[in-house]
Symmetry: C3
Subunit: 362 residues, 3 copies
């Protein structure tokens, strides 16, 4: 992935412009140094820009050979109280966002050239924008719509009457089933499946009767969907992923969920049917959300936490068994089955003393 080259001053100007004027960096040192890439503090060379991802990395920042470091004012004072001799510092009140925009500028995502691979299977009744790129063995079925500058990767599948928005990219092998919609500027990674049937069966005579899944999946703009992630279509009505949602790999989102705008969902999360997740939530890795519940805007769910009922108040919620040596676990897990007994024994002991449990605890 080849990067382009800019001076520190040019890069600062370009980040300011791309951020809508929000991110203005103050240059300490040589504004004319050439920047050609981003790197970690340790790996950065004389044409790289780096940033301080973690306060613990201050020593690495001091040692870094990076041409330029993006730091907050407080970081700059802490790391270089006497100034940085070895290179330039870019001071920003949002160094992480500044770095992200800078990286986008240094590694511009190629705009695909209009292209239809001769091996792609495109139904004559599909509406494919002339500026779109369709790679080898991709399939676009009847009535599907592919927007301007969209890029359908090798072997990707777009079902009948599905719609892929402008500037959206389906990576190799991504699947978007019939009638589902992906908005603009989206990214769907390989082996993601959008619009498989929801898991719905009625019990009958000792077996199961399948309930046809007649809804769709509607995905908003600026949504990223990770590799191997599955989002099922609604049973009746649609599964909805609002604008700006970011979804990592191997996430399962069941039928009729609604994921609020700007929510971020880390890898291996599962969300059962008809759950409603608010906006700007963060679900950490392997969190599991039961069905038919709601989580309010701005909630953070910790890794490995099972949410089994609705949450009323936004906050940071956690629930996983802490890791121990296996020997300790054996002892503690066995006692966990007897918490009620321990409680009862405490009660009996308290019964021998007045006021031992004045607050009437459980």
């Amino acid at each position: 992935m080849s990067a382009i080259g800019l001076t520190v001053a040019e890069l600062a100007g370009a980040v300011e412009e791309r951020s809508g004027g929000v991110l203005r960096a103050q240059v300490h040192g040589d504004a004319g140094r050439l920047i050609q890439g981003v790197a970690s503090l340790e790996a950065a060379g004389p044409t790289d820009v780096a940033f301080l991802a973690n306060p613990r990395y201050q020593a690495a920042a001091r040692r870094s050979a990076a041409a330029a470091l993006v730091l907050s004012a407080a970081q700059r004072e802490a790391v270089f109280p006497a100034g940085r001799d070895a290179g330039t510092v870019l001071e920003s009140d949002q160094p992480y966002a500044w770095f992200a925009f800078a990286s986008q500028l240094l590694y511009p995502q190629p705009t695909p050239a209009p292209y239809r691979d001769p091996t792609a299977s495109i139904d004559p009744g599909a509406d494919v924008d002339a500026s779109a790129r369709i790679d080898a063995h991709a399939v676009v079925e009847r009535g599907a719509t592919i927007g301007a500058r969209a890029w359908i990767g090798a072997g990707a599948f777009v079902g009948a009457e599905a719609r892929i928005g402008s500037d959206t990219r389906l990576h190799a092998g991504a699947v978007v089933h019939a009638r589902c919609r992906i908005g603009e500027r989206g990214i769907v990674h390989s082996a993601a499946v959008i619009g498989a049937d929801g898991f719905g069966f009625a019990p009958f005579q000792g077996g199961w009767v399948k309930i046809p899944q007649v809804g769709c999946v509607l995905v908003g703009d600026d949504v990223e969907i990770g590799a191997g992630t599955t989002i099922d279509r609604g049973t009746m009505g649609d599964t909805i992923v609002e604008d700006g949602v970011k979804i990592d790999n191997q996430v399962q989102i069941a039928h009729n969920c609604r994921i609020g705008a700007q929510t971020a969902i880390a890898g291996c999360v599962g969300i059962a049917g008809s759950a409603t997740i608010g906006r700007r939530c963060q679900l950490a890795g392997a969190a599991m959300i039961a069905g038919h519940l709601s989580i309010p805007d701005g909630t953070v769910i910790g890794a490995g936490t099972l949410v089994s009922r609705s949450i009323r108040e936004p906050g940071f919620y956690t629930g996983f068994f802490p890791m121990m040596s296996n020997r300790d676990w054996e002892r503690n897990a066995a006692l966990l089955r007897h918490l009620g007994d321990l409680r009862d024994r405490i009660r009996r002991l308290e019964g021998r003393h007045d006021n031992s449990n004045p607050r009437g605890e459980p």
Copy 2:
């Protein structure tokens, strides 16, 4: 997905027929109303049938604009003690199953027309029924058998000597490896992989020696397999999924498991090697089953529960750490490491009192 139109009376007759005479609904109100689709209570319009998925939704049922509601006798009395003015009620002793059959009738799954896409790669030595449909870029290898009216979706893969039963559908990108078998009326969703190698290695000289995985996967009739689900072939002998099993997305079933008939497995479940799951079990989302154990018929395993040893008695088993505010979790999880100490302190206190622990509890 366009639905067909039936009167309430026609629909009731058709459900009765399709259910083998088991489901007979009593019509209260206008039996001549036109039904064209199913919908949720809230979304239902004047040509929809709806049902009461949850007792909490009684108010929504009263407000519903649905042409007809399917209710049990008890639900009808509770929701419409004075009768339903606004529309028809279908009274059934199994309203959910009735609704499922009605939905199947209103949204009939298309029988695929016989078809072989010119881009499909079908080995001349494969036995493909003339009534089957093979979509673009699908691959059917030497010696494979594709049954009557089977539908092999775009880019799906059927390996050498594999067998796909009549009326079974492989969705786009599904993979069935060599010598594996899928029964009749099955559904295999996109990115599901049937018959990858089991995970078997012998330790040797600090590394691992691969054990060839020479068994197959045998899947019965009427089985549904979700998107991204993986079922590995047996190491020696086969991995077996019996008739009527329903498997959701991103489920992992390891080598040499046996899944009993009619068992339902929700999303993100993992089942390790050589586990035997009984018939009519239900494994809720993200349950994890260790290897070389057995679970009896009719067992229910709760969400997020790890089953680490065989279960002797059917029942409802659970085990996940309850969610808390992160602050409470920090406090309680730390104490969890010291349950043994708490127990010892209770013991010491009891030692000062005769008869404090008369039952000799742990």
Copy 3:
């Protein structure tokens, strides 16, 4: 999968040779018996070799009709104190490894014949060894390198400038993205995705700014990667999987992880970004590893265990909530929220006795 035929003596000689002279079995009984396959103790017939996978299976070993059994000296004494009448015993100090090599010899993996399917899409600028096999609808992009005897399965994808080592097999539908490398003698199963974007976004104005993922995935030699497993490319710098690592199905390995040589990772494991896993570790099913931490060589993590901070000492670590009947769980889980209260009540009781908590426990 047809096996070849060897006498017991020939097989013993071949295993010795393939193991570099390490595995020498002593033959008790007829060394001339014909062996044509491997099987479990129960299923083994008169031309099969079997082994004792578990000490509990001694009775099955005695009943087994296998032509030959591979046993350690101790197993042989325990199972056949008076010798085995019905067949041969191969005595080995590493019976499991011996069995693995024997199985490889009896079920030799076919070396693919050089082949390029006419439907494969191979860029003229790709460097495909003349001895490689490229199956139907596979895609090899510009600048990619395919090594000697490598086998690219149907519909598999090899991105621009990616490298697939000699004797490596990509199964149907596997995806290796641009610039990633797989070493020699590797296996990548179906629906695995190597080199999708890492999950990296900077918060900005209530939403997220994507950080370009400009690193690669570098996979060593003799690595197996399971079906549906995803390994993301590095954000800056690379994600590294060292030689001999074995990865099961549906494992998620995030950007910039390093997995040490010979480590084995079971199904459904998730590893968050920038985690460093040592060599010869074993991560059991559904273990979850948080980001930016390290685990030392030789560590074993139990099933369903969340590792939330670095581990300093190798050992066997566990942490999952033990399964109970749902009724017991309800009672115990509720008390878990009140461990602090129970502890406080014990403290108050102790306050009434001198020396009740002499060690100052929590």
